[in-house]
């Protein structure tokens, strides 16, 4: 994305630097799903760097079925008024009008999310058309790069939202970081034809692949999402290469949300300090119950949405 990295004009807004820059400010932090202004205050007081405003956490979306859509703008705005930290909200995959609505009400980051029912089976939102920044989910590097090529300024693993089961997030973060390491090695040996083959496989411009290969990292911030339920889960994802964590159902579906939220924040900051992770994990009460992946039929898995 070197074309995007040049400084914006004096006074310019909605530039690539500003979109990716806000994600830089969130690094090392935890973004929490909240459904009410009261939840949002609890999250902010626990040290969340941002909140995701939605009507139902993924575990409830999963339980209730039906079509999951963008949340009521009034409810999102009440949350925006309740806290001073950035507020994110979700639109359906490909639903660019929901994205326009979220931008119009001043949401700080838009999550084009597989947790909601997809609106378009062919196209994701063209995120370059927006001044508001977007975060998108990915299961592997090609998917991450396709989203970045469409204008996503932040990437998160998809995991399997609403399960309290970390296994899918681990799979996705490992797939992304291992593929980046492989590219980085290719860059060292300057095998141009191999990079072109990768670009073809990923369906993205070779310049983007070359940039990732050279830097040995994505050109945007990479967070983990989907299945974090404990402080140890949060620290695990940071040690595996995530630069921060989204926590959805794991906090407000647990016995003591305020304490658990604070513990997950501390474990994310001090992820290399097992003594501290042990300390904050003590006596947190029951975690969300969670689901084993093999109990979820393929058709009900959320991570397969998007491509």
């Amino acid at each position: 994305m070197s074309a995007h990295s040049t400084p914006g004009q004096n006074g310019s807004k909605g530039t690539w630097t500003l979109k990716t820059g806000l994600a830089q400010m969130l690094k090392g932090g935890v973004i929490m799903d909240v459904v009410t202004p009261e939840h949002a205050k609890i999250a902010e007081d626990a040290g969340a760097v941002a909140v995701m405003a939605l009507e139902r956490v993924p575990a409830d979306i999963r339980a209730s079925g039906g079509v999951a859509r963008m949340s009521d703008p009034e409810m999102i705005q009440r949350i925006m008024e309740a806290v001073t930290i950035p507020v994110m909200a979700k639109c359906r995959i490909g639903h660019f009008v929901e994205a326009q609505v979220l931008e119009a009400i001043g949401v700080d980051y838009i999550d084009e999310s597989e947790v909601l029912t997809p609106a378009d089976e062919k196209y994701h939102v063209n995120k370059h058309d927006f001044k508001a920044p977007f975060v998108c989910g990915a299961r592997e590097l090609g998917e991450a790069l396709r989203r970045i090529n469409e204008g996503a300024a932040m990437i998160r693993s998809k995991g399997e939202a609403g399960t309290g089961n970390i296994v899918e997030a681990v799979r996705h973060i490992r797939a992304i970081t291992e593929a980046i390491a492989e590219l980085h090695e290719m860059a060292a040996t300057e095998l141009h034809t191999k990079l072109e083959a990768k670009a073809h496989e990923f369906r993205v411009p070779v310049e983007l692949v070359r940039e990732v290969a050279k830097a040995g990292r994505l050109p945007v911030v990479l967070f983990c999402a989907g299945g974090i339920a404990t402080p140890a889960d949060a620290a695990l994802m940071m040690q595996l290469g995530a630069e921060g964590n989204f926590v959805g159902s794991g906090i407000f579906k647990s016995a003591d949300p305020a304490r658990r939220a604070k513990a997950i924040v501390e474990a994310t900051t001090h992820f290399r300090d097992p003594k501290l992770v042990a300390e904050v994990s003590r006596g947190l009460g029951e975690a969300m119950r969670g689901l084993s992946l093999d109990t979820i039929p393929a058709a009900e898995r959320l991570a397969g949405r998007g491509w």
Binding site: P7, N10, K13, L18, L26, G28, G47, E266, H270
Partner: protein
């Protein structure tokens, strides 16, 4: 006090810490590395004794403030600043070191005599880039990145204003060895503010 853009790293601070509790500390560490200065990712108060200068990065000021308080950074940082250690706050960091932050719910280091308003320009869609005239850094404008930025609404006696936006809004200031910027020099490749900060300890 101004330092020429070409001055060698040898005259700059030897070991500079960056508070690594949350935010874009890695970008500050990368800039220090480019300048040939040893950077330290500071996550424990005891590390404040091992450094000659401290940068508090951009991030979420409520998060950084809470973690800093919880782990006992505030008192230790006040002691080190009183001993003359240079401290620079960028964006959230500027909020962290300000004496007055209206409406801020959490304890702050309260080092620098100024009032800082949070999110003073609005939400993310109002974030912007601007070319600033910073006489202390030379004639070339400094391209500044403002992200949900604060602004300095009052400076006390002894605080020097370093940069203002058109219309007079203060966005960079210095009080002795304390430096505050509303914007993020660590997100651009212009290292003049980092050099300027690293020279403060030698004054």
């Amino acid at each position: 006090m101004p330092v020429a853009a070409g001055s060698s790293a040898a005259v700059l601070t030897a070991r500079a810490g960056v508070l690594g509790l949350q935010g874009d500390f890695a970008e500050h560490l990368a800039t220090l590395d480019r300048l040939g200065v040893e950077g330290v990712d500071v996550r424990r108060p005891a590390q404040l004794d091992e450094i000659d200068a401290l940068i508090i990065p951009g991030g979420e000021s409520t998060t950084i403030g809470k973690l800093a308080e919880q782990y006992g950074f505030i008192e230790k940082l006040r002691d080190r600043a009183a001993e003359g250690m240079p401290v620079w706050g960028t964006c959230a960091g500027a909020i962290f070191i300000a004496k007055e932050v209206p409406g801020h719910p959490h304890p702050l280091a309260a080092l620098m005599d100024m009032t800082v308003d949070r999110n003073a320009f609005g939400r993310q869609v109002d974030s912007f880039e601007a070319d600033l005239d910073v006489p202390d850094l030379g004639a070339k404008p400094f391209h500044a990145v403002f992200i949900r930025a604060p602004r300095i609404t009052r400076v006390g006696p002894g605080v020097e204003v370093l940069a203002q936006l058109d219309g007079g809004m203060i966005v960079a200031a210095r009080q002795g060895r304390l430096l505050a910027t509303s914007f993020h020099p660590e997100l651009t490749h212009d290292e003049r503010f980092h050099r300027y900060f690293l020279s403060l300890g030698k004054g």
